[in-house]
Symmetry: C2
Subunit: 242 residues, 2 copies
DNA sequence: GCGTTTGATTGATCTGTCTCAAGAACGCAG
DNA sequence: CTGCGTTCTTGAGACAGATCAATCAAACGC
């Protein structure tokens, strides 16, 4: 039954999309399942495991930590996503910490099972290469945002990206603002201030984790690299101060 | 003869290390060769090519560009290295510009030839996955340095990394200081000033592109995340001002 | 030789973002 | 309801690094 669950989850992952039923079943037999509580580590920096991981349900934050305790969030793995694939193909020790954000069910794919599957199915190799390539492009996108955009622009872009995923103009932040701030490379204070600024300009409305994008075009102008021309201080309504 | 050159270059690349002679020859037959002059583009952002590239000789800088003309160097591809592998496995348009830094001989691997090789040789798939994984870990290292270290620490780390590659304490900067600055995420002015500071502290000596690391241990202390304890202002020699 | 280009240095100043500090708002366990 | 931990907000001030501007030095073509 547990194996059945694993197989169903695995079948839904992009990387295993085109793998045949029998091969899936075989992989599932070698897949480990772990239940994590909030704050538990899926894996730690420095350890040289040779598995990678998948999230069945829950959320796992992937973070870089400095000696002095600061942390930088690389991304948050959601259900159906995998992480630490590189561990299977490289011997270098794991560079990141993976920490459960809530009760999480984790799948563990041992290197041996993955290598066996690579031998049997060239299309799986292709899918895996595609996944790593996508992950890489996401990293590059992040580097680009951090190097070339201001904090204000990064935050506006982030909101637009969230809205692009869903069709609507209402977006829900997937994690706490503190985590999002770290992901965007700003402090939580700066994120808070800039979101407030967007609200004051009438670009968005905030209700806890739900954000309503009032004016996507203007938000896109803020996000654009070319500094928005005439956006200095246009309050949403003149009467708001009364 | 040109094909012979291509085959020899290809054979030296990490990704093709374990590919058999006949398969190599077959790949070489489908590999394009281009001669680039300084400033020529190997590929441009936004174009959706489905090849990837290898450097036979010369240097190619891989850069992100903003609308306003600033640029961030991701890395510089040296002879024997490949770039833009993701283009073969993803449909998303190319996110970077690749520009020759000098006279450069470029190999072009078409997606079709790579996919054919993937079908024939599972070990090639593994090698390719290993290459992408390594590239990804390098990106993560860069993100970590930028997010968690100060400019001073990044520069010190960079010098130590150069020294670790070669065995000696004399290192030669692989490209101009301006490019290195961009790679490290600082302006050329800041790089210049901090290198000067290292010289004044007696940590290094600079002769154009050659740098001599006088005191690696101290340099490592500067690079360490925990701010170096008692390094405020220790000039190399008191008499240097005379 | 001598302009021109590319790269490096150095100083003076400015500013975006962080840091520190204090509250406020919320959720949850008892 | 009450207390407590977590997250978020807001302000005042500080600072690392950017920007602007001026030189300087080497390399290159003619």
């Amino acid at each position: 039954m547990a194996a059945g669950l694993a197989e169903r989850v695995i079948a839904g992952m992009a990387m295993f999309k085109h793998v045949s039923r029998p091969h899936l079943a075989e992989l599932a037999r070698h897949t480990g399942m772990t239940r994590l509580k909030r704050g538990d580590f899926a894996c730690r920096r420095g350890q040289s495991s040779s598995c990678f991981y998948g999230v069945a349900n829950g959320q796992v934050k992937l973070v870089l930590r400095s000696d002095s305790g600061e942390e930088k969030v690389l991304r948050v793995a959601e259900p159906g996503e995998t992480f630490c694939e590189a561990l299977v193909f490289r011997t270098r020790p794991n560079p990141i910490d993976a920490v459960a954000l809530c009760e999480t069910l984790l799948l563990t794919f041992p290197a041996s099972a993955i290598h066996a599957l690579l031998d049997r199915d060239a299309n799986f190799a292709r899918a895996m290469l595609a996944c790593l390539s996508e992950r890489m492009q996401d990293l590059v996108d992040g580097i680009e945002a951090n190097a070339l955009l201001s904090a204000r622009q990064r935050i506006a872009s982030y909101l637009l990206a969230l809205a692009a995923a869903g069709r609507s103009s209402r977006v829900r932040l997937p994690v706490t603002k503190t985590l999002i701030a770290s992901q965007l490379g700003v402090t939580k204070e700066t994120l808070s201030r800039l979101l407030r600024e967007f609200v004051n300009k009438g670009l968005i409305a905030i209700d806890k984790r739900d954000i309503l994008l009032h004016d996507r075009a203007l938000l896109a102008a803020v996000a654009g690299t070319t500094a928005a021309p005439s956006l200095s201080d246009t309050p949403a309504s003149e009467s708001s101060s009364v």
